[in-house]
Symmetry: C2
Subunit: 369 residues, 2 copies
């Protein structure tokens, strides 16, 4: 019980067919990197699709040979865990536009022979879901037992239930919102400006110069990171703790929280691609299923047939519980089968990554019953 | 009633004596720019000191000859207004370290003949209050009828009541906190990193190059600006309104909120000094009256003799009402005379700039009775 899935290896395939994007462009020969955990049963009825969030990737569980750090949702995916790999066949792809092996801004554009860079088309959540539907076809999965994700991942799960009602049985929509607020967009815009204004960004062609916009990406991550943590979590973890015994009256980091944010920003800027970050913030901004229905979310949900679970966390101020309740209320108005869990957790938006007992029990019972 | 103080002109004087700073350095020949409104009465008992906040200055009320935009607190200061210039003599200085005429990083360091720039010592709220006490001496004001300020200005008013109990009759502490939280410091650190990482910052010596770090300062202001507005205010003012009729799938501003923040950031970066901005964020971070009393705020308040008014605003999430209540509760524990007003206002932290009726009535009755 509650073990890891162990050593895992990413897989790769090329999607069949052309993907017409919302922006008007299209993509072909789409390479997708993904991981799977557990075994697909004979009638292919036990497959769960995991959708990653802003800075996520396909490495959701287990560890790579020779490495120690497990996948980003290892707390929830594994034998006996909330998403039980003894029962389910779990698939997690790196979405297109990503920077961990799937087709994205760092890939070669076969038409030009150069990196896509800033020419990579801007993707939407709809585009992602359609690409994941092509992936389902490649994997021979006609109907997902469930599509589950947190944050931007939850938005994909919601969109799956709207766009492909006959290909999804259950949707787990965790720590999400039906659309970004002005404040959410504002924080994304600060992150984008930090990257766009970094001279090393070089109008997005930094792979040609070999000098990537690390300072801009670091800043973008720092501001994002603040919105992922609750004020309470920051207070209990760092408070006003000083790095040294006394103040030094300098612009170097004096408080622990400053060092922490700088360090996290540095690590992130070494491991993520700036064009992908820009792309994913836009993807969040654009998400708004009600926009084609005069803002009426219940009408946007009319096509849904899946059973849905919506989960929110008390200290999440990025996508607060009231944002999840907007989804729930619209689903109820549209007469859909929805359960709602509001979990008392101190970790802010990041709570969806922690295996709180109420949360994991609620999720596993939703998936298994 | 409720008119403007009309045309005003800034004044200038040089403080007598030496100011020993908390950082260990000292300053002499301190030039201070300030404005006054109303008339000082015969026994100099009707003087009110206004303390400005992070990006504020001495131009609190009235207009300059030939200009239209009034001072930053014109809504509250004037004949018949909350701070009634028919009754009070109102003084507002630009604090040291500022960039509007008082001694600061853009001033010439007489010892070197060059700009201070990054060599300007880091100032604290205590230093500011002590410099304002020297200003009182120069103006012949032995005891302020009141010291009033919002945000960082409120912290100065609080510190005045602690440090100079016999020189202050009343203190108005508006939209303040007894110290910054980890999250508050984190946002300041993002702002600082934006400035420090701008190549045009040139280690703070940008006045020599003639190329100021506008992009960094713009970013710093954008992230600050988000924390000044309530999520509700942003929602009602901008929501998800688009700049054009439809999405263009580009990295240019697509939503009104993006344009607004960019524009505000641009204007600010043309009119403010980066070294001053750095300095003022540190000043906020360092403020913590309880730090010399083992974190016991009530003990830090023991010296206070003034009558105090604490005001908070319901939608302020930068310094939320509970932060003001920390001050109030400690004042009560220390058996001080304190009144507390929690004002229902939609404007977030910026509420202290708006002449809400409950707020202005509460403030004027506190000052006049």
């Amino acid at each position: 019980m509650n073990e890891s899935v162990g050593i895992v290896e990413p897989k790769k395939l090329t999607l069949q067919g052309k993907l017409d994007l919302e922006c008007g462009q299209s993509l072909t020969d789409i390479e997708i990197v993904y991981e799977t955990y557990g075994n697909l049963n004979q009638d292919s009825s036990n497959a769960i699709l995991i959708c990653h969030a802003l800075s996520g990737n396909h490495h959701a569980a287990g560890v790579y040979e020779g490495e120690k750090r497990p996948g980003w949702w290892d707390s929830l995916i594994g034998p006996g865990k909330a998403i039980d790999t003894n029962k389910f066949y779990v698939v997690c792809p790196n979405n297109i536009g990503g920077c961990h092996g799937s087709l994205g801004p760092s890939s070669i554009n076969k038409e030009t022979g150069d990196y896509f860079g800033p020419d990579f088309p801007i993707i939407t959540v709809k585009d992602w879901v359609r690409s994941q539907s092509l992936l389902s076809d490649s994997l021979g999965i006609e109907k997902w037992h469930a599509v589950v994700g947190g944050s931007l991942g939850g938005m994909q799960a919601l969109e799956w239930s709207r766009l492909f009602p006959d290909k999804i049985k259950k949707a787990g929509i965790i720590a999400a919102a039906p659309k970004l607020s002005a404040q959410n967009i504002a924080f994304n815009e600060v992150a984008r400006q930090a990257i766009l204004n970094d001279p090393d960004f070089a109008a997005g062609r930094y792979l040609d110069t070999g000098q990537s916009p690390k300072q801009g990406l670091k800043l973008a991550r720092m501001v994002g990171h603040i919105t992922y943590l609750s004020e309470e979590a920051m207070k209990s973890k760092f408070g006003r703790d000083l790095k040294e015994e006394k103040l030094n009256f300098v612009y170097d980091a004096e408080f622990e929280i400053e060092s922490y944010l700088r360090y996290q920003g540095d690590v992130f800027s070494e491991n993520f691609d700036a064009n992908t970050y820009l792309l994913m913030t836009k993807l969040l901004d654009y998400f708004d299923p009600a926009v084609d229905h005069q803002g009426d979310l219940a009408r946007a949900f009319e096509t849904i047939e899946a059973q849905l679970l919506v989960v929110s966390f008390t200290t999440d101020w990025r996508f607060a519980p009231e944002r999840s309740r907007e989804i729930v209320n619209a689903l109820i108005a549209a007469k859909k089968r929805v359960s709602y869990l509001e979990i008392d957790s101190p970790h802010g938006h990041d709570s969806f990554l922690f295996a709180d007992e109420d949360y994991t029990k609620g999720l596993s019972s939703f998936l298994e019953n």
